[in-house]
């Protein structure tokens, strides 16, 4: 695939993903011409057209046109399936997706697309796996940032002696504990493992870690007292 465009019936661009290097001016020109061509098509016409030296596959879903440009040797019919799969992913993620969702959450639409396609080809053929990856990444966005801010230098370096602040396994543990829907038994066992780690001579005793735990999971506060 060379590029994918999403645009409304009025010709407004909602998403553009380019897999070939082109200047901004060229992209604008191509977009304008292609949008005009596709919008001029009548509803009963077939989903494929030849444009310049590319094959264009487009499909309309409600008020949005999904338009892909593929090369000569690519299979048009499976491209229709790819478009459909992307729509299904959006639908599952946003829950009955509509154009407004894509307008107001365009960056999420991109993230989903980037988890499904890479370099113009499908990287994952299982709907479940794509959605799982997005979900995990979203969680990471919410939680890990908070922790990353507390623990400086959490990027793992090759040399273990250079590790400052939080240890990666420690942070993983903390992550599990702070997830709101983690069953308390899991959190409790995680706390215990953390305690074990803390008591090992090699790890640094970091009081801020403990403080964080107390703040996040009040019901386990009592058990923490033991650690101190």
């Amino acid at each position: 695939m060379q590029f994918m465009l999403l645009f409304s019936r009025q010709g407004k661009l909602r998403l553009q993903k380019w897999y070939v290097p082109l200047s901004d001016k060229e992209k604008k020109k191509i977009t304008r011409e292609l949008v005009q061509t596709v919008l001029a098509r009548k509803p009963k016409m077939c989903s494929f057209l030849e444009w310049r030296d590319l094959k264009i596959v487009y499909k309309r879903y409600a008020s949005l046109y999904f338009c892909c440009a593929i090369e000569d040797q690519d299979n048009e019919l499976i491209t229709l399936e790819i478009i459909h799969r992307y729509v299904e992913l959006l639908d599952k993620y946003f829950g009955s997706v509509c154009e407004l969702d894509i307008i107001f959450n365009f960056e999420k639409a991109y993230f989903i697309l980037d988890e499904f396609l890479l370099g113009g080809e499908a990287q994952e053929t299982s709907k479940k796996n794509v959605l799982k990856a997005i979900e995990q990444a979203d969680l990471l966005q919410e939680n890990i940032d908070f922790q990353m801010r507390l623990f400086a230098g959490c990027q793992r370096s090759r040399d273990p002696t250079q590790r400052a602040g939080g240890n990666w396994p420690d942070i993983n543990m903390v992550f599990i504990i702070s997830l709101p829907h983690t069953p308390s038994s899991a959190s409790y066992s995680a706390v215990c493992s953390l305690y074990r780690l803390q008591t090992q001579p090699s790890s640094a005793h970091n009081p801020t870690q403990m403080m964080f735990l107390c703040i996040c999971v009040p019901q386990l506060c009592l058990s923490f007292l033991l650690l101190f």
Binding site: C46, W51, I82, E107, D114, T125, Q136, L140, Q155
Partner: protein, 710 residues
């Protein structure tokens, strides 16, 4: 400084703008705020600001000042920052700017990050827009990740490797060891991307292709498992298990089996299985069948399999879904050369597609119809194609007309049919006919001697109806000029026109605004030719003399020369204007190939505004030859003492071969007009070929008997 507004807030605000100007104002205000925020090096809100900038960029506003900010975001430790930063890099940066190289180090670090999602971001960005320099620097990291056991990263690394190979083909070797056990993966994502990687490598290098041929049995096995396995909820699409993977495997098999008998043999069974077992009720199944057909046609498959493939395409043609029909027509066009007979069986369905409403389908059907025309079906096919020519959109008419001419030339069952067909094309699509058609048609008509009367009569009638289509008018006027005598002599079946009517029509062409200068030239020459075929010479003389002062230089020159013919060389006029002999067919004649592709253009963009300028090489050559003859005759009479004393008429020699050993002679008659009774002298220059080499001989004859010139 107050916190910058949130992204959603901005989107909401901008959407309330009622005019373009209002929107532009809002955008400019926000851009200014963002710019000052960037200047302050504000880390907290950088992410938010860049996200807003990306939204404004999508609306079409410039956002280049955010490029460096994207780089700062990528280098940040926060996952949110990285996510937006990489997105911004993919949208705003491109490899033409040096700025993008600054990303290389960040990507390198992130490829080794402890969180797989950060690694994933880096791989994705590299795989989408990495430049050749970046790819060179980071290929090693990608290769390492290709060998990891983490399937999430492995699949991304595979597609990233594809991009690296596309950008820097020399690095392909580097990825070879990592491909060793890619196909033994269970994970479908990795399998799919691995097949894409293998496909890319095989397409680019014949060595890789031969190396990977050994994978055919493994691929066949994987495909078999996909088809035979039961329902797998994770990969199921309308009852078919992982169609994306199936299609990709079929494509790789196509490349591997292409010119190799053994590989093709190994895949025969599985291809037949897929072709017969795949469910065709939904698009998914048809997508797989389509890929299967393409593979069968491309490898060295046995004939039974090929027939199966074409029958699948035939069934596609009858499908209600027009996408399927389109795809079938495209594939049939590719195979019609090699499997002509098999495709012929579906001819009637293809011809029906000419009546489809969709432009792309009509174009494909037209191209395919022309490819299927042969001596047996020419009459039936031509009927359909002419009907199509009548009713099709202007964008098709030129190609269709050329196609009809070509087909008619190759397979015409009779001369009359041929001329009728040409007439039909000229009258229905006359202005769309290509430049070289006119001389071709003239040649064809000249050579069909027995049809002259019929042709000129029909062309004359067509001219009476409509003089706007230039190619038609040109051919008609030429014919009337040549065969006008047949037109008025009663040899035609219908009531013949009288001479004055014919001259009226031709004169009408000369004065009409619809006629191009070229057409006027044709008309004038035609009128001139009629001076030897009709009796109303005076009228013709008058017309010709009027145009002697025409503004059009070409017309003026012709008129002046014709005038000279009337005045000084009237005795030569009959010889000069006599019937054209049969023309030789030159190899370069004939309309060009029908242009494929590009069925979709807007009506306003089409090039059918004016008919293309017509050149008439054949006619011009003829005219030139005639005049050259005239001039050369005049020149060879010139005498230093008194020019224009004699006038000669050279007749054709009796033969152009002189038999050897005095077994025969060649005679040429020269008629001399010698009103001043001057002594005759002749200088002869003979040029001939003897045993292949040219020979020249000069001789002078001074001893003409006095009776010849006194």
């Amino acid at each position: 400084m107050p916190a910058p507004i949130r992204l959603r807030e901005l989107i909401r605000t901008i959407r309330t703008a009622r005019t373009q100007a209002e929107e532009r104002e809002m955008i400019q205000k926000e851009c200014a705020a963002i710019r000052s925020s960037f200047r302050e090096e504000d880390n907290t809100y950088r992410c938010r600001n860049v996200a807003k900038l990306l939204y404004m960029h999508m609306l079409g506003y410039p956002a280049h000042f955010g490029q460096l900010e994207c780089l700062k975001l990528i280098a940040s430790q926060k996952f949110t920052d990285k996510r937006i930063g990489y997105l911004g890099a993919m949208l705003l940066l491109d490899e033409r700017q040096d700025v993008h190289l600054l990303m290389t180090n960040c990507i390198k670090n992130d490829l080794n990050h402890s969180t797989q999602y950060v690694q994933g971001l880096a791989l994705c960005t590299l795989g989408c827009m990495g430049s050749s320099e970046m790819c060179r620097d980071l290929a090693g990291e990608v290769e390492k990740l290709l060998k990891t056991s983490n399937s999430y990263l492995r699949k991304k690394a595979a597609l990233c490797a594809v991009h690296v190979i596309r950008k820097v083909p020399e690095l392909m070797e580097m990825f070879l060891p990592a491909t060793k056990n890619l196909l033994s993966e269970k994970n479908h994502g990795v399998l799919h991307t691995s097949v894409v990687l293998l496909t890319e490598m095989c397409e680019r290098s014949p060595d890789m292709l031969s190396h990977f041929r050994k994978l055919v049995p493994q691929l066949v096995r994987i495909l078999k498992n996909l088809i035979m396995s039961g329902y797998s909820p994770e990969h199921d699409v309308s009852g078919i298990s992982d169609p994306f993977l199936q299609v990709r495997i079929l494509r790789l098999l196509r490349i591997l089996g292409r010119s190799d008998d053994d590989s093709s043999e190994a895949m025969n069974d599985i291809l037949a299985q897929v072709a017969t077992n795949t469910e065709t009720s939904k698009n998914v199944g048809n997508a797989i069948l389509y890929e299967t057909v393409l593979t069968i046609m491309d490898i060295k498959s046995e004939s039974g399999l090929r027939v199966l493939a074409i029958n699948i395409l035939g069934r596609f043609l009858l499908n209600n879904d027009k996408n399927i029909r389109y795809v079938a027509l495209t594939s049939l066009l590719k195979t019609v050369q090699t499997d002509h007979n098999a495709v012929q069986r579906h001819r009637s369905t293809i011809v029906d597609c000419l009546k489809d409403l969709d432009v792309s389908i009509k174009r494909r059907a037209m191209e395919l119809s022309f490819a299927l025309v042969n001596g047996n079906n020419i009459r039936g096919m031509m009927k359909e194609l002419l009907y199509f020519l009548d009713s099709c959109d202007p964008e098709f008419k030129a190609d269709c007309a050329s196609g009809v001419f070509l087909a008619a030339e190759k397979y015409a069952p009779s001369k009359r049919w041929h001329i009728d067909t040409i007439m039909r094309v000229l009258t229905t699509a006359g202005s769309y006919v290509r430049d070289d058609s006119v001389p071709n048609l003239i040649q064809l008509i000249t050579n069909s001697v027995e049809m002259h009367a019929y042709t000129v009569q029909r062309l004359y009638k067509a001219l009476l109806d409509d003089i706007s289509q230039q190619p038609l008018v040109q051919v008609s006027s030429w014919c009337i000029g040549e065969y006008g005598d047949l037109l008025v002599s009663g040899q035609c079946e219908e009531e013949e026109p009288i001479q004055d009517e014919v001259l009226d029509v031709l004169e009408g062409l000369l004065v009409s605004n619809l006629s191009t200068p070229v057409t006027r030239g044709y008309a004038l020459t035609a009128i001139m030719k009629l001076s030897t075929r009709f009796s109303s010479v005076n009228r013709i003389k008058k017309v010709v003399s009027i145009y002697g002062s025409s503004i059009d230089v070409e017309l003026q020159q012709r008129a002046v020369e014709y005038n000279a013919l009337f005045k000084k060389y009237d005795h030569m006029r009959p010889a000069l204007l006599e019937r054209m002999p049969i023309m030789e067919k030159t190899a370069t004649n004939g309309p060009t190939e029908i242009v494929q592709t590009n069925g979709e253009t807007e009506p306003s963009v089409l090039d059918t505004k004016h008919p293309p300028p017509v050149t008439q090489p054949a006619n011009q050559v003829r005219t030139l030859k005639q005049f050259w003859y005239l001039h050369s005759v005049l020149c060879c009479c010139s005498d230093p003492v008194s020019p224009w004393t004699f006038q000669l008429q050279l007749l054709s020699p009796s033969s152009n071969v002189v038999p050897a050993l005095n077994q025969g002679t060649v005679t040429q008659v020269i008629r001399v007009l010698n009103p001043q009774k001057q002594q005759l002298r002749m200088r002869i220059k003979l040029t001939y070929t003897h045993k292949g080499s040219p020979v020249q001989d000069l001789a002078e004859v001074n001893n003409f008997p006095p009776q010849s010139w006194q």
